[in-house]
């Protein structure tokens, strides 16, 4: 199942790098697009401003020209009534001034060019005019007279920073030039009168001389100008004058500011989030790499294990198996994963026990330490395993299944079994040797008095045959009797050595001895696959020696087990029934073994009689001796179903 995780991670990382270029590109495009948009909108604004500026200043120039033209006309219409006296002239001048046309002084020059009337009066006639001449300008006067058309003079300074220019309008009466009406414009006042407030609000309007010198401005005091002015020729009055407008630094509109500000902030946020994302991904990659290595490490570990691993969820369904487990049982991972109990690898003969054990493990009540279990391979061969189960806990601490490790202990068990058999044989041999040695020493000891008796008797017979008097023969016979007694003593001594006294008798719960004797044979019973049915119909209390009784029961049970070596496995049954009848406890042991041949039945209880290759011939003899010692009876009969049935009848302890 391990082959699904072999995707080349390197390529994936490379692909991710390609992916990383996209957001960067998008971001750069976005920022570039926004910048371009802002720049374009700014440019459009500026162009629009400029167009407005140009149209505004053209309008202003027209407006000024209109004022000047109207004033020319009004000055040209001045008549005798107005020029006759100062008062009329003054009122006419006042009327002219009232139009807010920038006129600040009116002078009436007679046909000789002399000042006749002036309002306001000329306070300082010596003040230099445009060409250092007196005011009004004689040159302009002459020009106007000769041309018969209004003529504008050069601008000249009047006081400091205040410039003014004149307009000479010839007035003709009755076909000849009656005089020249001179209007004096102060440039500052002209601008102040004729530039409307909304224009002055947006531009600094100035009048420049031909050398670029500013001759007068209409402006707010502190506002800075952009330097991107526009100028048009101011003609009339001409003479190189120009009308110049420069827009003030208007505060940018809030919406645009807000827009660009938002865009910048958004860009920063995008950049920041990209950076965060990238950092996150880098960290994630590092973690993933670590995880992958960890996973590969664990995978290699699991694959290299000899120990089978098998995980089940809480329903008992297999969710994972490692290769060692598959090798162990012979089914592949795909065949096993998803299987529910009963598993295919459960041994058939202990299916119920295995299921009970599996259920107890799933319920969390399984053995805390490892337990041994017989399973089967796909081939049907049995396999002994040592299983440890541990709960599977997920990342949230949730218990979601069980992980079991299985160690194949088949060989170890077989070796144990072989060692045990070896040990058994060794013990049996040792017993044989010891017994032979004992028998030999008993034989030798008994031989001595027997030999002596024999010799005495033979000697006596010899003497009697040769008709020796009886007196001489008698001592030999006495000695023979003596030796016979000695032999008897030897035998009594041996008997007392071998026999337990009755003082070891105690009250015994009979079924406990049965259990203990069966426990001693448990390995043999399991190994031979014998089913033991224990039927305790009563629980009698008897009086006896527990060790001897247990030995007798052990011998009988072992005979039953060994008699079934050649029985077909499914018939290997041993039945043990304990019952009570008439103050006697009756134990019945039935087997389905080879039975007892008629010709050996008579000798069955004889000491040293055996049908087994390695037997001593003492087992049943001991059994009978023990049972009889307990005032009981041991008998047997053929089992109708095949095999043998042994009966032990023992008196129950008096109540």
């Amino acid at each position: 199942m391990g082959s699904t995780t072999t995707t080349p991670f390197g390529e994936r990382i490379n692909r991710w790098h390609w992916l990383w270029i996209l957001p960067r590109l998008a971001f750069i495009l976005f920022v570039g697009g926004v910048a371009l948009l802002l720049w374009m909108s700014d440019r459009a604004d500026k162009e629009e401003q400029r167009a407005t500026l140009i149209s505004d200043i053209l309008w202003l120039e027209q407006n000024l020209r209109f004022h000047l033209a109207r004033n020319e006309e009004l000055l040209g219409r001045i008549d005798v009534a107005h020029t006759s006296d100062a008062k009329a002239f003054e009122s006419y001048a006042r009327t002219m001034f009232g139009f807010e046309s920038g006129l600040r002084q009116m002078i009436w020059l007679g046909s000789d060019g002399a000042v006749r009337l002036a309002y306001p009066a000329i306070t300082d006639p010596g003040l230099a005019g445009e060409t250092g001449e007196a005011i009004p300008s004689q040159q302009s006067y002459r020009l106007a007279r000769s041309l018969g058309k209004p003529v504008y003079s050069r601008a000249y300074p009047y006081f400091m920073n205040d410039w003014q220019f004149e307009v000479h309008v010839p007035v003709s009466r009755e076909g000849r030039i009656a005089g020249v009406a001179v209007g004096i414009y102060r440039i500052r006042d002209l601008l102040g009168d004729s530039v409307p407030w909304w224009l002055a609000e947006r531009y600094r309007i100035s009048v420049n001389g031909d050398s670029g010198k500013v001759l007068g401005t209409r402006s707010k005091v502190e506002s800075a100008v952009t330097g991107e002015g526009y100028q048009v020729a101011f003609d009339p009055p001409g003479w190189g004058l120009a009308l110049h407008a420069e827009p003030y630094h208007a505060p940018r509109p809030l919406a645009s500011l807000l827009l660009s500000g938002t865009l910048v902030i958004l860009a920063v946020i995008v950049l920041w989030s990209l950076w965060i994302l990238r950092r996150h991904v880098v960290r994630r990659q590092a973690v993933e790499e670590q995880l992958r290595q960890e996973h590969a490490f664990r995978k290699a570990m699991e694959d290299s294990l000899d120990t089978g691993m098998r995980a089940r969820n809480l329903e008992g369904e297999i969710i994972y198996v490692n290769p060692a487990f598959c090798r162990m049982v012979g089914w592949s991972a795909t065949e096993l994963i998803g299987r529910r109990p009963p598993m295919p690898y459960w041994a058939d003969d202990i299916l119920d026990e295995t299921r009970a054990l599996s259920d107890s493990v799933l319920a969390g009540e399984g053995p805390e330490v490892g337990f041994e279990l017989k399973l089967k391979r796909r081939t049907g061969d049995p396999i002994d395993v040592l299983i440890h189960e541990a709960p599977l806990i997920d990342a949230r601490g949730q218990h979601f299944g069980w992980m079991g490790s299985l160690v194949d202990i088949t060989e170890r068990k077989q070796a144990d079994e072989r060692a045990r058999q070896q040990q058994d044989r060794l013990q049996s041999t040792a017993r044989l040797v010891a017994m032979g040695e004992m028998a030999s020493s008993i034989a030798h000891e008994l031989n001595q008095p027997l030999a002596a008796i024999s010799s005495y008797c033979t000697g006596a017979a010899n003497l009697l045959r040769s008709e020796t008097p009886a007196d001489e023969v008698l001592p030999a016979l006495d000695k023979a009797v003596e030796q016979a007694r000695r032999a008897g003593q030897i035998i009594r001594r041996i008997y007392s050595l071998a026999r337990h006294g009755e003082d070891r008798f105690e009250l015994i719960q009979f079924e406990e001895r049965i259990d203990d004797a069966l426990a001693l044979l448990e390995a043999d019973i399991r190994q031979n696959g014998i089913r033991v049915t224990l039927d305790l119909q009563a629980r009698p209390l008897i009086e006896g020696d527990p060790v001897l009784l247990e030995q007798a029961l052990f011998n009988l049970f072992r005979n039953a087990v060994e008699s079934m070596r050649d029985t077909v496995p499914d018939q290997r049954q041993m039945g043990i029934t304990l019952a009570c009848a008439d103050r006697y406890a009756l134990l019945t042991i039935s087997d389905r073994g080879c039975g007892i041949a008629a010709n050996v039945a008579d000798k069955l209880f004889d000491p040293l009689f055996t049908t087994k290759v390695e037997g001593l011939g003492m087992g049943l003899a001991i059994c009978r001796s023990v049972v009889e010692n307990h005032r009981g009876r041991l008998s047997f009969e053929a089992n109708p179903a095949g095999g043998t049935v042994f009966h032990i009848l023992l008196p129950m302890a008096p109540q």
Binding site: T458, G459, A476, E482, R486
Partner: protein, 201 residues
Amino acid sequence: MSNATTHIVDDDPAVRDALQWLLRSRRVQSQTWESASDFLAFASRDLCGCLLLDVRMPGMSGIELFDRLRTRHCRLPVIFLTGHGDVPMAVQALKDGAFDFIEKPYDDNALVDKVLAAIAQDTKRCVRENSILLLEKKLSQLTLREREVMKRILAGTLNKVIADELGIAMRTVEVHRSRIFEKMKVRSAVELSQILGLLGD
């Protein structure tokens, strides 16, 4: 067979006593020893009779005693008494020159018969050994010259030739001859040849 004695070596007093009794009932003279080492201290080359030896004894065993007697050139015939398990050991002893072995429990008169057979054999041996001993004693009495003369007599050489060979007088040879016959207690050269034939065996 008057001085032939059966020696019984067994650690069990009852067995010793019973065997002695049994042998006495057949008029066989016997002597008992309660251990192998006791008998070994007593044993010599010129014992005559037989030895009834128990194989299994505390201390020195019957087999060991048998071996030691062999090294001392005691030629007393040995009958081993063995228990059931000692048979192979006894057979080996038989190959090494023991007279017989008998297994316990034994047929007593058969045992006595074997003892008698052993005594008979040993008596013959004793007689022969005794006569050789006697002969050697007689020979040792002869002088050097008498031996030279006797060698030639046994070879059937005439007195005259002997005298020539030895360079002595005929008369002297005759004197030597009569002296030899006297010392060897024989009356003729033929008789001399006969008794010396024993030595040759």
